[in-house]
């Protein structure tokens, strides 16, 4: 695997590489503006043109530091960042609420985040709500018809990737030779916590993607729709995926998109083989007793 230029820590550069030249208007989405530069500085939100079409951009800024919440640096999503990202999604919904499904603006999530803010103040005030709020907002926008593409350019780690990425219709990722990382934690840490030696895990990870780190393994699980082989390839790939997502939504095939769609992809790519069996049997078992749980009339 030949190492190539990395995009890690370069969320703002990635925006410029992806959208139409000089079109990014930071801090404005429809009627909503984010005027306070000290509010959620780790989250970059705004509107840009992509192939001439208005899109909402949501990214992390790895070079920002949130003075109010010192756990937020290097692209970490903190409380303010999570809610700010949620607000960017709600502003997109509001801006297009009168438009038909075919016209809803796409959301492009540029993913390079090492985690959710871990701190005592965060736990006292409920950090779980900030990340949950962003996920629910994205799911609402996806179900309302907005095409959502997540573009992994660097780190896509654990709970932060769950909120900033995994609710997208499609996820695309720069390939592993760009240093992209998709995982819960590195195999070295997994090894320590589950008390299995690293060599065993490394050997197993060659054949079993569920605990191996990296976009290629995630691809086998259906977690990534497509790997992108060049930096120049990010823009056309995102444009293609927006088109494909629109087509699927127009055809009433929303179940092929988002987390549920990735479940089916995981079975097709043989990374998650038991999942469909469990679902099938549960459906049969419930169908056999469903009448018992219907109203008695």
């Amino acid at each position: 695997m030949e190492a190539t230029e990395t995009m890690m820590g370069r969320g703002r550069d990635a925006i410029d590489m992806i959208v139409d030249a000089d079109s990014f208007n930071e801090g404005t989405i429809g009627a909503k503006t984010f005027d306070d530069p000290e509010f959620g500085p780790g989250a970059v939100v705004g509107t840009a043109a992509l192939n001439g079409e208005a899109v909402t951009i949501i990214a992390s800024d790895a070079n920002a530091f949130n003075e109010k919440f010192p756990v937020v640096y290097a692209g970490i999503i903190g409380m303010e960042e999570g809610y700010k990202m949620a607000q960017a999604v709600y502003a997109s919904l509001e801006a297009d609420k009168a438009k038909s499904v075919a016209e809803k603006r796409p959301l492009v999530l540029i993913v390079d985040t090492p985690g959710n803010g871990p701190g005592k103040v965060e736990e006292i005030f409920g950090m779980n709500k900030a990340t949950g709020a962003y996920q629910l907002a994205l799911a609402e926008a996806r179900l309302a018809g907005h095409p959502i593409v997540a573009m992994v350019i660097g780190r896509a780690i654990s709970g932060a990737f769950l909120c900033h990425g995994l609710q997208a219709d499609h996820i695309v990722s720069l390939d592993a030779n760009f240093g992209t990382m998709i995982h819960v934690m590195p195999l070295t840490s997994v090894s320590r916590i589950i008390r299995k030696d690293l060599e065993t895990l490394q050997e197993l990870s060659k054949g079993n993607p569920v605990f191996a780190a990296g976009p290629r393994f995630f691809y086998a699980l259906g977690g990534v729709e497509e790997l992108v082989g060049t930096i120049d390839g990010m823009r056309p790939t995102i444009i293609e995926h927006i088109k494909a997502i629109r087509a699927a939504k127009a055809a009433g095939e929303a179940d092929k998109l988002g987390p549920w769609g990735r479940g089916q992809l995981g079975a097709e790519r043989e990374g998650r083989k038991v999942r469909p069996e469990v679902i099938k049997l549960m459906n049969q078992e419930f169908a056999a007793v469903a009448e018992k749980y219907a109203p008695s009339r």
């Binding site: 303010e80 607000q87 871990p118 701190g119 006292i124 950090m127 995630f218 469990v278």
Partner: protein, 318 residues
């Protein structure tokens, strides 16, 4: 399995996942889905040479409370900390999906269906989140649950129960936050990042994970009740949780929207006011916030009996 009547008096904290699931619904109405006899277990644990369970550490079932069909998901903390992997995740996701489909079918088949005849989902959390032995599959399962929670909105209320030993942490912490209503006992704990992880990342000065009382104050049921993160605080008995679910289950779905913490622009605005307060206060201890909420003797709040606590406590409003 103890008798159903005995289960009602049994400690929720001490009970296993199946006892909680059975005791939550009316006697004789319980049907387990993908139960141990179906022998679904994690192929990934098997590859690692680890022990497996034939329910993968999660009980999924359907039952009734009164006229309400109740879809139950109950996590077992004694099996790898209640962690979520491919199989357990699929069971959880599909239980919510079945409830939504059943709702749609009932509404179509019974034009005059009442609120109490419509299904609800109840999730008894006992988990640290993603199972590291199959972490990537666990992440994907978490995302699927969030997707189903949003799909259930305005149709099928999803009620969280937290009162078991492991509590509800990691990715499942935000899954719980995203449900419609949260019922906890004072022994329940809810959070995102566990205290050991915070200490490891940020140092002992930030959060001393060996200070069990501090840890408990930060994530425990009483604190979450004051913060509005828990809607109903109950005694530590399966029957008490069951009573709370029974009261909630008959409500129209619009009532649940009012109980939500997150899930709308208005709720996010409200949470941001709390975040601004956090920035202003920089509390070192949950008690600082209890005092801010208007409780004159925050230290006493930890130890007074639950009924006194519920009668006297001031909850934070922002």
């Amino acid at each position: 399995m103890p008798k159903w009547n005995d289960l009602q008096e049994q400690s929720f904290l001490e009970s296993d996942a199946r006892a909680r699931a059975v005791g939550l619904v009316d006697e004789g109405t319980y049907t387990e889905l993908a139960g141990p006899f179906d022998r679904f277990y994690s192929p990934h644990l098997e590859v690692l040479g680890e022990a497996v369970e034939f329910d993968d550490g999660i009980v999924t079932a359907v039952g009734k409370i009164g006229k309400t069909p109740v879809f139950v998901i109950s996590q077992e903390g004694r099996f790898i900390g209640g962690s979520v992997g491919e199989v357990g995740g699929a069971k959880m996701v599909n239980t919510i999906r079945l409830a939504i489909e059943f709702h749609d079918k009932l509404v179509a088949d019974y034009p005059n269906i009442s609120d109490e005849e419509k299904p609800v989902v109840v999730i008894s959390f006992e988990t640290g989140g993603v199972r590291l032995h199959e972490s990537n599959a666990g992440l994907l399962a978490h995302a699927e649950v969030m997707d189903q929670l949003q799909k259930a909105r305005h149709k099928v209320p999803v009620i969280t129960l937290i009162g078991s030993k492991v509590g509800c942490f990691g990715g499942m912490g935000f899954v719980a936050a995203a449900t419609d209503a949260i019922v906890m006992s004072e022994f329940g704990r809810l959070g995102l990042t566990g205290p050991e992880v915070i200490e490891q990342e940020m140092g002992k000065e930030e959060f001393d994970s060996s200070d069990r009382a501090l840890v408990f104050r930060t994530t425990g049921g009483r604190h979450k009740y004051i913060m509005g993160d828990c809607n109903v605080l109950v005694q530590n008995m399966i029957g008490a949780f069951r009573d709370a679910v029974a009261k909630l289950a008959v409500l129209p779905v619009s009532e649940f929207e009012k109980m939500r913490r997150i899930g709308s622009p208005e709720a996010v605005e409200r949470q941001l006011r709390a975040v601004a307060l956090a920035a202003e206060m920089q509390p070192q201890d949950a008690r600082d916030v209890w005092a801010k909420a208007g409780n004159p003797d925050p230290v006493a709040l930890t130890d007074i009996p639950l009924d006194e606590f519920l009668a006297d406590v001031k909850r934070l409003s922002v």
